[in-house]
């Protein structure tokens, strides 16, 4: 084989020369072309993932700064820094160095607070981004794999946040670690071994902080960075989903090119997120560990609250009744296993598997690039709201002591109320959401068939009053007609005509039932005939109105 070089022009500019140099070695021109010309659709909700990404970058940047001064050692020292109230107090080197960053490194507190605020925003942005993807059905084929990666990112983000929160070895975070250790001990069979190995002996020991530090600054961020990269490459390769609208189809993307519009918008948005985080970090105190004091296993302050993303777990632990079984010389602490391991395990498993569960129920195996309007997927939306209400009640329960003191209520009453509400509210939330969705579907159908209400009232010759409806715009039609109706799966017969039992009879039946339940009460999009008939009728009405002179000029 011989290498053929076709004659090329000599670049005129420095940028051109540099690009030529790289291209001569990597043939990067075709990729660069695709990259720069890449079209992204525009919608405010697509910025949620961006906020998550930018918060992550801010965390990496500010985290590197903190490592320059932070020392994760449990060696006991006497504080001698410039924060007077703690002078002479015994504390770990971890706590001491965190105070040093906060009071004796110029701008150190700003970086620390940027890091903490960015962590709070990161988990929040990941969560809300997940909700956006869920409620618009963006997780459907072909994006199921990216959904699972996203679920993994959420779990890792929560763990990473908790690890970082625990590092300063203050009274509040130490209490959180004590709880985490208690939960480890509750694991059947291996619990005590896990706890002893993780902590290098009994709690708190001297080994754990340096280990947690390695996990927090290397292990989890490394995995996060890898998964975020894969997540983005998949978004890039599969192209972004888009909302329905004029010109939008399943086989195209309508929006603006990466270069220059999105480079300016997305690049600018990074600075906006960073700027707002820095402003909040400069003005609003977060995690003032000097007020909590150094950790000691014999103290805890009343009203202890974890960071917001741990609240639901703490709430679940607070709500679970005191179930424990002892048999054959062994103890199973259901009061910890259920809220801290079993329930979160089920929640995250269902979350990760949801794309396949829904596709199995609906039988919809097609590719989707046009997003669902949440109302049009009424059952999915209701399931989502139901799950959210479950999460919300757990989260509020995490503050049951705060509610008790703020509203002067008995803690027992509040706890029992939430124990009841955790079972009562989610089904109610499901039903109400479903009804709202169906109502909105009906309104959309009405708009398509009868147009919108103009507010003009017309009296007909025989005395009847009618309101004139005008047809909706093409833009709105494109949105409303984007709803797709799928027929529910048929119930599989349990036996065929000659009486042979269907081997898939039971699963088929369950699947058919679920499918019928999923699509129940769906308000179908009007057919072409119905739309035509409605258009003719409207024409008629307008005609009648014009004759009356009510809307002359139309």
């Amino acid at each position: 084989m011989s290498i053929v070089t076709n004659p090329k022009e000599k670049p005129a500019t420095v940028v051109g020369a540099a690009a030529t140099y790289v291209d001569d070695r990597l043939a990067s021109a075709s990729f660069t072309k695709r990259l720069l010309d890449k079209v992204f659709p525009d919608h405010w909700s697509f910025m949620l993932g961006e906020i998550a990404l930018y918060s992550f970058i801010i965390l990496l940047l500010s985290g590197v700064y903190l490592t320059l001064w932070f020392n994760p050692s449990m060696t006991e020292v006497i504080y001698n820094g410039s924060y007077m109230p703690l002078k002479g107090v015994k504390m770990s080197e971890a706590f001491n160095s965190t105070l040093h960053i906060s009071f004796d490194v110029r701008g150190g507190l700003l970086i620390r607070q940027i890091h903490h605020w960015a962590a709070l925003f990161f988990v929040a942005a990941v969560s809300v981004h997940l909700l956006r993807v869920f409620f618009t059905g963006a997780f459907r084929k072909p994006r199921e794999i990216n959904w699972v990666i996203g679920t993994g990112l959420l779990v890792l983000a929560i763990l990473e946040g908790f690890a970082g929160y625990s590092l300063p070895d203050d009274l509040l975070s130490g209490t959180g670690l004590r709880i985490a250790e208690g939960i480890m001990q509750a694991v059947p069979l291996v619990g005590t071994y896990v706890a002893m190995f993780v902590f290098g002996g009994e709690f708190p020991g001297n080994d754990f902080m340096p280990r947690l530090y390695a996990v927090h600054i290397l292990l989890i961020p490394g995995i996060l960075l890898g998964l975020v990269t894969v997540h983005l490459i998949m978004v890039f390769y599969q192209k972004h989903t888009q909302f329905a609208g004029p010109g939008r189809t399943e086989s195209n993307v309508v929006g603006y090119r990466l270069y220059p519009v999105y480079m300016a918008k997305a690049g600018g948005f990074f600075f906006v997120v960073f700027g707002i985080t820095a402003l909040i970090a400069g003005l609003v105190s977060i995690n003032p560990i000097w007020l909590y004091g150094p950790y000691t296993p014999a103290q805890v302050s009343a009203g202890s609250q974890p960071d917001w993303y741990i609240g639901w777990l703490d709430g679940a632990v607070r709500l679970t009744p005191n179930w424990e079984t002892t048999a054959l010389g062994h103890t199973i602490s259901w009061n910890l296993l259920i809220p801290a391991l079993i329930v979160p395990g089920i929640m995250f498993t269902l979350l990760g598997l949801y794309p396949w569960i829904e596709a199995w129920i609906t039988g919809d195996k097609r590719e989707h690039h046009i997003l669902d309007r949440p109302r049009n997927a009424a059952t999915r939306t209701s399931l989502g709201v139901m799950a959210l209400s479950f999460y919300g009640i757990l989260w509020i329960s995490g503050g049951n002591d705060i509610i008790a003191t703020q509203f002067n209520l008995a803690i027992n009453t509040i706890t029992w109320t939430f124990r009841a509400l955790i079972f009562i509210v989610p089904p109610i939330a499901f039903v109400i959401t479903k009804r709202i969705c169906l109502g909105l579907q009906r309104r959309d159908q009405d708009k398509l068939l009868h147009g919108y209400e103009t507010g003009q009232i017309l009296r007909l010759p025989h005395g009847e009053f009618i309101e004139i409806h005008a047809p909706i715009s093409d833009e709105e039609k494109a949105v409303l007609l984007s709803k797709q109706d799928i027929a529910p799966l048929a119930l599989a017969p349990s036996a065929d005509a000659s009486g042979v039992r269907n081997p898939k009879g039971l699963t088929g039946k369950i699947r058919g039932r679920l499918s019928n339940w999923y699509f129940a009460d769906n308000v179908a999009v009007p057919s072409d005939e119905e739309l035509r008939a409605a258009a003719e009728h409207a024409e008629h009405q307008l005609h009648a109105a014009a004759e009356q002179g009510a809307i002359s000029g139309h």
Binding site: R106, G107, T175, I183, E202, V272, G282, Q299, N322
Partner: protein, 347 residues
């Protein structure tokens, strides 16, 4: 990649047309409406000035950051309404840096929105599935490789390889063994032993029974805690041996975990919650209830430390106490049951 592009000037499909994939009706892209800055050079000039003003202000703020860093002492405080007393340096640095970079972002976005094109572009998606031929080729390559290596043919190689690979993680797991000690019985005992003095938590003073009034509460630890160096687990020992002493009228004591475990109405209970290990100290004198601030487990100290509410499943372990010849409180021995949260081997 088969990315064909059309601009909005050439509408995609028509109102009568249907999306070939989904069957949805396709409407033409909205006609592009020019913005003020597109047609009015004055408006364009104004937008240009706004964007560059933001970038210039950003530069000024970032320089101000450096000045504030050098000039403002880190211990100076300032009163700001709504924020209270805050560090001057912290607030100034935050404002300069935050606003400085925020303006870079706002400038760039303003530039994109006012001056860069807002004509929507349509790009075709490419197929996210391979053709049957491509799949067949891959399958053929995999089969060819299997045949060339003889993986299917040499059973002995295959089995020994799988065996070796299965054992590969074993050393990696074994290496973790020295992360910590075996649990043994270390969760079952504390450093309390017979005749160890009960001393106050903070100042390590011996306690006389008469020092505690009825209704009083004292946080206490064993005197031998002081003999343990920090490196040898002083904090670990404290995490298990901390107790609270509560004095009540002897007639108020409904029950105890052992006969004569109190001393004249002074009872000693573990301070470590049996739920998940938080130290408890919210004591209500009137009801003799002890409430854990972490998960609100409530124990009745007048009634053997039994659970009256919350997620804890076990009573608080009681420490039997008495006094020495000089009248100082001492322990009768260690706890008779493990303190702190439950574990599998606890029984």
């Amino acid at each position: 990649m088969n990315e064909i592009e059309t601009t909005s000037n050439e509408p995609y499909g028509s109102a009568e047309g249907k999306d070939l994939v989904s069957g949805r009706p396709v409407f033409p892209l909205k006609h592009h409406e020019p913005r003020r800055a597109d047609i009015d050079p004055k408006a364009a000039k104004r937008a240009e000035r706004q964007v560059s003003a933001m970038f210039a202000a950003s530069s000024a703020l970032l320089m101000a950051f450096v000045v504030a860093y050098v000039k403002v002492p880190s211990d100076s405080l300032v009163q700001i309404p709504g924020l209270g007393t805050v560090g001057t340096s912290q607030v100034l640095l935050g404002l300069c840096f935050g606003l400085g970079i925020l303006l870079i972002g706002l400038g760039a976005i303003h530039w994109a929105k006012k001056l860069m094109t807002d004509v929507e572009v349509t790009q075709e998606r490419h197929a996210l599935t391979s053709t049957q031929e491509e799949r067949d080729e891959v399958a053929a390559i995999v089969k060819r490789g299997a045949a060339e290596s003889g993986f299917g043919q040499h059973k002995l190689i295959r089995r020994t390889l799988l065996g070796a690979l299965a054992l590969f993680p074993v050393p990696l797991v074994v290496l973790l063994r020295d992360l910590g000690p075996m649990p043994g019985t270390r969760l079952r005992s504390t450093i309390w032993t017979k005749n160890i003095h009960i001393v106050t938590d903070a100042t390590y003073q011996k306690i006389k029974a008469s020092d505690i009034p009825v209704g009083g509460l004292v946080n206490a630890v064993p005197a031998n805690l002081l003999e343990i160096e920090e490196a040898d687990g002083n904090i670990n020992a404290r995490g298990k041996a901390s107790i609270i002493l509560v004095r009540m009228d002897p007639s108020e004591i409904v029950s105890q975990q052992g006969d004569g475990w109190d001393y004249q109405g002074i009872v000693a209970y573990s301070k470590i919650c049996t739920h998940v290990g938080c130290p408890i100290s919210l004591y209500q004198q009137r009801t003799h209830h002890l409430l854990c601030p972490c998960h609100q487990s409530t124990f009745d100290l007048a009634d053997s430390g039994n659970v009256v509410f919350g997620p804890a499943a076990r009573r608080m372990p009681q420490l039997a106490i008495t006094v020495d010849s000089e009248g100082f409180l001492v322990a009768q021995g260690d706890f008779e049951e493990p303190v702190g949260p439950s574990f599998w081997e606890r029984g």
